[in-house]
């Protein structure tokens, strides 16, 4: 009985909303897009277990939105782990046209399908907004003979056995980043002897112990280790130097290697979300990134703002797909 009532109420509210929206359209069409508001809690999905990058993005943004009172409805964080994101993507893809569902995305949404382990890629979803970015950084031990990225790549040319460790599987972000840089230097991407560890921490330990020659990792993660003076950073993949504790690290571009690599993170939605909802969320994130709570959070987490609107984000994703496929095909890992 209660259930029936609830359904009826929901219907009613949807009806009245439609009426409001219709009324809006009648008055002025451009305002209609701004009228849309979520009518129930938004499923806010991290396609991974708690603790990782996607999860941190979801929880931090949900917190800021709540603290600053940017939305009337709750953004309810949900973790759907498995398959490096593939399990969640498969579920979200089944839920097209849902205006109350968002999820965190980053390069794996392009890489995992390219590796053949997900049927869905970024084109099966609706880009909402790119939010932040990190960059990748190449580290060697402080007593290593290599002073610059050029010296490291030259050494790799002479000795293809030289090992570069990373904290993710072959063919995933870290591997693509270093292989792409090698290709930009003029080497064959496949000539990097990439050693996959099951986490950035383990890769770092292998470097500190002198078991591998270099490590590729996220610049944000590396800043604490660099403080100890045991490591040296050879290059960072940003277009310009990163302010703060990594200021002294040169970019690839400065070293005449025409290469940048973004570890971007953004928000996506199910395919065919209504344009009004997309523009509502797009707008929401833009406002969120101007708040003090957000600035405080990004400073703490070492994130760099890299906002893009839905359309820009979509174009960016297509460009990423091209870049990644070319590196993966050089590596012989395209499926």
């Amino acid at each position: 009985m209660t259930r029936l009532c609830l359904t009826a109420l929901k219907r009613l509210s949807v009806l009245s909303l439609t009426a409001v929206a219709l009324a809006g359209t009648l008055v002025t069409t451009s305002a209609a897009a701004d009228e849309w508001q979520p009518t129930r809690p938004v499923s806010y999905i991290a396609p991974a277990n708690p603790g990782g990058g996607w999860d941190t993005l979801i929880r931090t943004t949900a917190n800021v939105i709540r603290k600053e009172g940017l939305a009337d409805q709750n953004f309810a964080a949900i973790n759907i782990p498995g398959g490096g994101g593939a399990v969640a993507w498969a579920q979200i893809a089944r839920d097209s046209r849902n205006d109350h569902m968002l999820f965190a995305a980053s390069p794996p949404i392009i890489l995992v399908p390219l590796a053949g382990t997900s049927r869905f890629n970024h084109r099966d979803f609706q880009p909402v907004a790119r939010l932040i970015t990190d960059y990748s950084i190449v580290l060697v031990k402080a007593d290593s003979p290599y002073q610059t990225a050029n010296e490291l790549f030259e050494a790799i040319r002479e000795n293809p056995g030289l090992s570069v460790a990373g904290g993710s599987a072959a063919g995933s972000m870290d591997h693509i980043s270093i292989a792409g840089a090698a290709a930009a230097y003029g080497l064959n991407a496949a000539s990097v002897n990439y050693i996959a560890f099951s986490g950035g921490g383990e890769a770092m330990t292998a470097l500190l112990g002198g078991h591998v020659a270099a490590v590729i990792t996220g610049a944000g993660e590396a800043s604490s280790q660099l403080q100890g003076g045991q490591l040296r950073a050879l290059a960072v993949s940003s277009p310009e130097r990163i302010a703060g504790s990594l200021e002294h690290v040169p970019t690839y571009l400065e070293q005449d290697i025409d290469y940048t690599f973004d570890i971007w993170r953004g928000i996506m939605a199910p395919k065919d979300m209504s344009p009004a909802a997309v523009s509502y969320y797009e707008n929401l994130y833009q406002r969120m990134m101007e708040t003090d709570s957000w600035k405080e959070a990004t400073a703490r987490l070492g994130w760099l703002d890299a906002y893009q609107t839905s359309d820009e984000f979509g174009e960016f994703l297509d460009a990423q797909l091209e870049q990644f496929s070319s590196v993966l095909s050089d590596l012989g890992m395209l499926r």
């Binding site: 603790g51 382990t117 599987a169 072959a170 921490g201 112990g209 604490s224 100890g228 987490l301």
Partner: protein
């Protein structure tokens, strides 16, 4: 500052009323979470991250560390009472703990676990305090070749873990290793044993296998045995008290396992589970009464419990001194610290002595709390065994299912749990030992990955395993532990022949 004055400083932080409160809440919550099968410290810590948002970093870490070692401490309870490991690190505790409970010595088993955990925990804190910076060098000296050798040494324990039939033990171990490599291969991205399903891309979680093979199989077994078992004597908890000779018997194993566990914990990627198995198999191998292991030997409870708690403390060494998380749990801790604006690493001790020494001091207090909290609770908790059997079995089933579902919120995991329950039942009925399967599962993937990594770095040269002194030593130890029984037997055989030749 030398270690002593630093520690005093640490205590001045840990003894602040608010921090005392956090230690208490942390270890209390941790024990409860640890006791519930399947619910591990990782999910608990992840849930706590938002709570710690506004806290001082030292308080936040004190709270979360408390949950972590509290869970390892409490995990032994369900291993002993229900044969359902509460956390991955306490699987080995059930080998002898559960038989003890069945023999009406549940109280004693729980008390031994509590004392051993306390000692293991305390030893590891002392180690953490005195030699953490030096130990970070040990942690980094282990490269892929060394890990491979360590895993090989660990796998030789299959021999001592297979009760009657070595062949059946080896079969179980190989099956465990096959399960451990399910999912996407790290080095090539190839899918193995996934049958094209995305649900298997990450492989099967260790806890699902452990709960299926132990807890569920036990439930099925009891159901099969049905009527006859019901008439058996009412479960008694028994006395908590240990005799002087029992204390003496346990002292050396607890000491050895504490040290062994601590060093295992220091190595990134090894941790409490491997530490407890190494402790258990070492004690079984050197014990004079090895044949009573697996049937309720008190040393079989004490050793893994000391080792897993010591490993938990050890895992803070790479986290705090290198900023490198050695396990999934410490990775979540690292994430939480970063959120609070503290970057653990080589500079932590100088930049944030309040965090470093405050946490270490709080661990002394937390361990004491755990002991004081758990001992009086034992008779109460052990009452679980008084529950009528049909209800108890249903409860075990529910706990296992809730715990497994909580891992990934995946229905498939429940099917896997059921599957491994049936496999475990079949293994029991046909006399296959379960422990080697678990050992193969925890060591297999790490062994394979390390071997391939080492060979990839060396350019395919197998000499890498014997060129490095640590790796060579470990491999020799492995060979020795396999060869020694043979030499012993040959020696004995020669002796008896000589004796029989005498007129």
């Amino acid at each position: 500052m030398d270690a002593f004055t630093s520690l005093l400083y640490g205590f001045s932080i840990a003894l602040e009323p608010i921090n005392l409160f956090y230690v208490f809440i942390g270890v209390f919550a941790g024990t409860i979470i640890g006791m519930l099968p399947g619910l591990g410290p990782i999910s608990a810590l992840a849930l706590m991250i938002p709570i710690t948002f506004g806290m001082a970093p030292s308080s936040g870490l004190i709270l979360m560390a408390g949950v972590y070692y509290g869970a390892i401490f409490g995990g032994s309870t369900s291993s002993i009472l229900l044969n359902a490991p509460g956390v991955a690190g306490t699987v080995a505790t059930s080998f002898d703990g559960y038989p003890m409970a069945q023999q009406g010595k549940a109280g004693k088993a729980l008390a031994i676990a509590a004392y051993a955990s306390f000692i293991g925990g305390t030893v590891s804190i002392i180690g953490l305090m005195l030699i953490a910076p030096a130990l970070s060098k040990v942690a980094v000296s282990f490269g892929p070749a060394e890990y491979f050798a360590l895993m090989i040494l660990g796998l030789t324990a299959v021999v001592s873990l297979s009760d009657k039939s070595l062949v059946k033990g080896l079969m179980a171990a190989v099956f465990g290793m096959m399960v451990s490599i399910m999912g996407m291969d790290l080095q090539t991205g190839t899918e193995r044993y996934t049958f094209g399903t995305i649900e298997l891309l990450d492989g099967i979680d260790f806890l699902i296998v452990a709960l299926g093979i132990f807890a569920l199989a036990e439930v099925f077994y009891m159901l099969l045995k049905g009527g006859r078992q019901n008439t058996s004597q009412r479960n008694v908890i028994g006395s908590l008290r240990l005799t002087r000779s029992e204390v003496k018997e346990m002292a050396a194993p607890v000491g050895r396992s504490s040290v062994l566990g601590f060093f295992t914990g220091v190595l990134p990627g090894a941790g409490a589970t491997i530490g407890s198995f190494l402790g258990y198999s070492l004690e079984k191998r050197i014990a004079k009464d090895a044949d009573t292991f697996g049937k309720g030997n008190i040393k079989g409870v004490a050793a893994p419990e000391a080792a897993n708690n010591a490993a938990c403390g050890g895992s803070f060494v790479p986290l705090l001194t290198l900023g490198v998380p050695g396990s999934g749990t410490t990775a979540v801790l690292l994430g939480a610290l970063l959120v609070m604006g503290v970057t653990p690493g080589p500079m932590l001790m100088e930049q944030r002595p309040d965090v470093f020494w405050g946490v270490i001091a709080s661990m002394y207090i937390g361990n004491l709390f755990l002991l004081v909290l758990n001992l009086p609770l034992i008779p109460l908790i052990a009452k679980v065994l008084d529950t009528p059997r049909p209800i108890l079995l249903a409860l075990i089933l529910i706990f296992c299912m809730v715990g497994v579902f909580g891992l990934n919120f995946s229905r498939y995991d429940l099917l896997f749990l059921l599957g491994f329950g049936l496999i475990g039942l079949a293994m029991r009925l046909y006399g296959f030992p379960a422990a080697p399967l678990i050992l193969g599962m925890i060591l297999g993937a790490l062994m394979e990955e390390s071997m391939r990594r080492a060979l990839q770095i060396s350019g395919g040269d197998w000499g890498v395993f014997i060129d490095k002194p640590i790796s060579l030593t470990l491999l020799l130890l492995a060979a020795l532990s396999l060869g020694l029984p043979l030499i012993k037997r040959a020696f004995k055989w020669g002796k008896t022949r000589r004796l029989s030749q005498q007129p």
